[in-house]
């Protein structure tokens, strides 16, 4: 028999497809509740994604060890968003159509979450994310109220920036924002909060990604003689901007979100350039029993302190609160019945609980209020939470937290 190239390819393809079949058959196990862990394992979210995914697995293990939620075991299907909307959409489609997941957890970066949420809305399943864009709170993105945000909105970040700028005694802030929903959300939130305090923003710039130079943008800002520049930026553009800023010879202070002002930035630029930068992040609910449980799981999975990855704590809470809502909704509940129970198990008035096992027991005696590892986890009407923030200062190449900010 003589095979043409096309036939060979076709038969190879079939063989590869056949290899997948048994796995598919297994994954359609009737009794399980299927969850998609859609995390930024590679790309800009890479430093956080692996930890997030491992914490989703670990939290699901804890739920299953406690006998499952609402009579069902959790089954996790892990995918990588590559921190890119296109890749995330493909992965989400696969999770929904092939794996038939009933919830998607842990998307990171607003571009990704905004791209994925139409798919989860269409499928009628919840999306739990760690993205900041204010647009994710309201219709059209959240018209079905199936989106829950475990991270602070960029608007809240902006308010925290304003609190810090006030505390540090700055008088003439300027803003620089990466041109996307998250970047602009940060600086607009700051401007709103700052002007509400009676302050004035002396200059503001929205810049495009992937430019060979940001000199013109910087110049416009520096011409206004600000004493601090507040950014809504990411690591790569922050690296370029700070390098160019240092080479202009100006002495300005910076307030930068922590996903950009992180150890990678220090490594890229060296301690002299980043000296004195204020890095702002939302912080986990440190000191809570839920955080201790998460921290232990994180140490076991990653071998590092759970303090270093606020998003992993959010991922831990996502599974726990979802499982509690499933338990509250009872056996066989569908997505909308589970969704209806989210605030019942997470918001005040109810026995405070810190883990799934504890919550499952307490649910037998009435309402519960899950106090999470990432925050006290009370959802407002938009499905948003309000974590605490911390101001860290970069000194001699070390990022050190100096104080907390509560909104």
């Amino acid at each position: 028999m003589k095979l043409t190239r096309r036939q060979t390819l076709a038969s190879l393809g079939l063989a590869a497809g056949a290899g997948l079949l048994p796995r598919l058959a297994l994954s359609q196990d009737a009794g399980a509740f299927r969850i998609g862990a859609l995390n930024p394992v590679t790309g800009a979210g890479g430093p956080y994604g692996t930890g997030m995914q491992k914490m989703i697995l670990a939290a699901a293990e804890a739920v299953n060890a406690a006998g499952g939620a609402g009579g069902r075991m959790l089954e996790i299907f892990a995918e990588d968003t590559q921190t890119q909307p296109q890749a995330a959409v493909l992965a989400a489609k696969k999770l929904i159509d092939v794996n038939k997941v009933q919830a998607i957890l842990g998307t990171w970066s607003s571009g990704v979450s905004l791209a994925v949420i139409p798919l989860t809305n269409e499928a009628g399943i919840p999306l739990f994310h760690c993205s900041g864009a204010p647009a994710l709170s309201v219709p059209p993105a959240n018209e079905k109220k199936l989106g829950y945000r475990f991270q602070a909105t960029n608007d809240r970040f902006g308010r925290a920036f304003a609190e810090i700028a006030k505390k540090e005694g700055f008088k003439r802030p300027a803003t620089m924002a990466f041109n996307n929903a998250s970047g602009i959300g940060n600086t607009e939130g700051f401007t709103r909060a700052w002007t509400a305090m009676g302050g004035e923003v002396v200059a503001s710039v929205v810049y495009e990604p992937a430019q060979p130079s940001y000199r013109a943008e910087l110049q416009k800002i520096l011409d206004a003689k600000p004493d601090v520049i507040v950014t809504g930026s990411y690591l790569a553009d922050t690296t370029i901007i700070l390098r160019e800023w240092y080479q202009t010879g100006e002495e300005t202070k910076w307030i930068i979100p922590a996903w950009a002002a992180n150890p990678e930035l220090v490594k890229a630029l060296g301690p002299a350039v980043v000296e004195g930068i204020i890095s702002v992040d939302s912080i986990s609910n440190e000191g809570s029993p839920a955080f201790a449980a998460y921290d232990a799981a994180y140490q076991k999975a990653i071998g590092k302190s759970g303090l270093g990855n606020v998003y992993a704590a959010m991922a831990w809470d996502m599974v726990t609160v979802l499982a509690l809502a499933m338990e509250a909704a009872g056996p066989g509940a569908d997505a909308s019945a589970i969704n209806a129970k989210m605030r019942d198990v997470a918001n005040p008035d109810g026995t405070k609980v810190s883990s799934f096992a504890e919550g499952k027991a307490a649910l037998k005696n009435g309402k519960i209020n899950y106090e999470g590892a990432s925050s006290i986890l009370d959802f407002d009407e938009f499905g948003d939470v309000t974590p605490d923030f911390a101001a860290s200062f970069i000194r001699n190449g070390e990022i050190k937290r100096e104080y907390q900010v509560k909104l």
Binding site: T42, G43, A44, G46, P47, Q82, T83, N179, V205, V206, Y207, E208, A210, Q211, P212, S213, R215, A216, E217, Q219, K220, D223, L235, A236, T239, I240, R243, Y246, Q247, T248, G249, E264, A268, L269, G270, A272, V273
Partner: protein, 288 residues
Amino acid sequence: MTSFVELLLSGITSGLIIGLAGLSVTLVFGIARFSNAATGDTMTLGAYGALMGTSLTGSLLAGGLIGLAAGALSAILAYVLVFRPLQNRSPISSLLASIGVAFFIRAVLGVVFGHDQMVFQMDLVRPFRLHGVRIQPNDLKFAGVAILTLALVFVVLHLTPIGRRMRAVADNPLLARVSGIAPRPVMFTLWAIAGAVAAVAGILLGMKTVVSPESGWDMLLPAFAAAVLGGIGHPVGAVLAGVIIGVAQELATPFVGFTYKIAISFLVLLLVLLVRPRGLFGKIEGVR
């Protein structure tokens, strides 16, 4: 006024990088007769080569040369494996194949080096002032390297026998062939130069910004714009057009805002092509 001059200087530096990339595009177009969409990713490859070279040898210069060699080598490989088998087909085949080569290079870089940004560890220095204008020493170095590269390319093209043959092929491939010019050495030299020039552009871009697998691809549109604006196949034109685009982008931003920075380069392109469809330096060509 000083800020105007500073923007002008900054525009020239980024323009030279665009110009180098445009030069690589235009060289390939002039001789191999297709638009090489892999130019951007050859830039990235050169930057990664230089990063690796720098960390191996500890010297930025030696690293740069290694990156340059990597760019040249990858371009020659692409020619031997992909573009030579396609050379008698329509230019569209080669263009599409070059997009494939671009994806391939980017994917390999992504797998090998990951998607986290990498940076050249360079000393950042404060600027000095000349009549109140801030001059950044690193900018001067970048411009110096770019100009040196351009000078070398023009020396090869205009003062060496192989350069003369390359120009002959660019001018009229059939006539060149009839005159006894062997195509093979010409093509190898062309791809080596095009790859090396792209690599230099990528290395300079990487030093100015950060290196990630996508960084070169993002520069492809401005590079094409420079090649078209300069009159396709015209080396001096491409470089000059690159500088014009860079300067126009920087100078226009105070007036039109930063969101439209990229649009400016295309507006310039549009205007020039409306007034002068053959580009700045292009010849009017009959139907081939």
